[in-house]
Symmetry: C2
Subunit: 176 residues, 2 copies
DNA sequence: CGATTTCACTTAACATGTTAATCATCTCCC
DNA sequence: GGGAGATGATTAACATGTTAAGTGAAATCG
């Protein structure tokens, strides 16, 4: 079905009639909804970050570092929601740009402790006003109450999915 | 502030007390909430896709192709929510694996038209049951009603952000 | 102790995200 | 109809996502 070549049309747009309707189910899936929403949000921030020579992830790391004195790499990965390998690379670059400082823990030579540098702090302070203005604009447009509600629902979703993972492993997957 | 070395502690976990509280604001931002929620969802699907040799994006493309007879590359990018360069690479690989077919439009030699192959369809049919089971499980755990509401809210957010972009450009950024 | 295992982090390898540049075609307008 | 500009698609270059493997140090247990 849906094979008709649309003879009543001007023909430069073949299949224009064929594709409109049946795609809905797919593009309305939960992963796609989340992806598009997040992309729409980040599209607001990226230009400003880019003007300051920062990627989204680099910003996340520096932003997280401003809230602590110092932090171990693994914990930083958890907080900034980055995988170890990504974090490793980014920290190498940020250190080369002298935006962060890294030292090894005295008690455990495996662990590295990271903190933001003065230069890094200055950069953050340069970006923050724009970022906060954008965030405020988003909040105002969407509604502060609704935004809080949305984030609550996202949190609940996240937790129910974590519970789902646990339930799927309780048999004993020790098959290495 | 918050510089005390925690002399009352066993000292292997320096800064353990320093970092718990002050991180909240950051990790509760809207982009982080969306990112974590989406990751929690995708974590459910990735293993199954991986078992069938598909990445998330390859699956999105094939899944989109099942809903149309054929589709132009640009339109496919829009529907599968991928940027052109990513799509280009993935289509090259999927074509090499004979999961899709590609031909050039007769009316406009710039345009390429893509469709799923029999082999691709078979693959989709092999993956779909597991995917749908997972989706059903998510729906059941989170609640169908709440899920629909969440997706509505995400859609509203997306649209209000698009409106925001337009508003930010209406002065005339003709500065090349 | 000392071998084995675990742990923190890094590298490696490949796939995708992101922006800019390139290439071929197509449109439009004179 | 021919040249300037627009358009569809790809390629290039760099950053990150993702999984597996590697490396060195610490914990564990015999």
């Amino acid at each position: 079905m849906a094979r008709k070549k649309s003879e009543t049309e001007t023909s430069t747009e073949t299949a224009e009639t064929t594709r409109r309707a049946p795609m809905r189910d797919f593009s309305r899936s939960l992963p796609m909804s989340l992806l598009r929403a997040r992309e729409a949000v980040m599209r607001q921030f990226r230009p400003s970050l880019r003007n300051h020579g920062l990627t989204e992830q680099q910003w996340r790391i520096l932003r997280a570092l401003t809230t602590v004195d110092a932090i171990e790499v693994t914990e930083l990965a958890r907080v900034a929601f980055l995988l170890g390998p990504s974090l490793s690379r980014i920290l190498r670059d940020l250190e080369a740009r002298q935006l962060i400082e890294r030292r090894t823990a005295k008690a455990d030579l495996r662990r590295a402790v990271v903190s933001i540098s003065a230069k890094g702090l200055k950069l953050i302070e340069a970006v923050a006003p724009t970022s906060e203005a954008i965030y405020a604009e988003i909040t105002s447009r969407y509604g502060a109450r609704k935004l809080a509600e949305l984030q609550d629902m996202l949190g609940v979703l996240e937790r129910s999915l974590v519970a789902m993972e646990v339930a799927g492993e309780e048999g004993g997957e020790i098959e290495e």
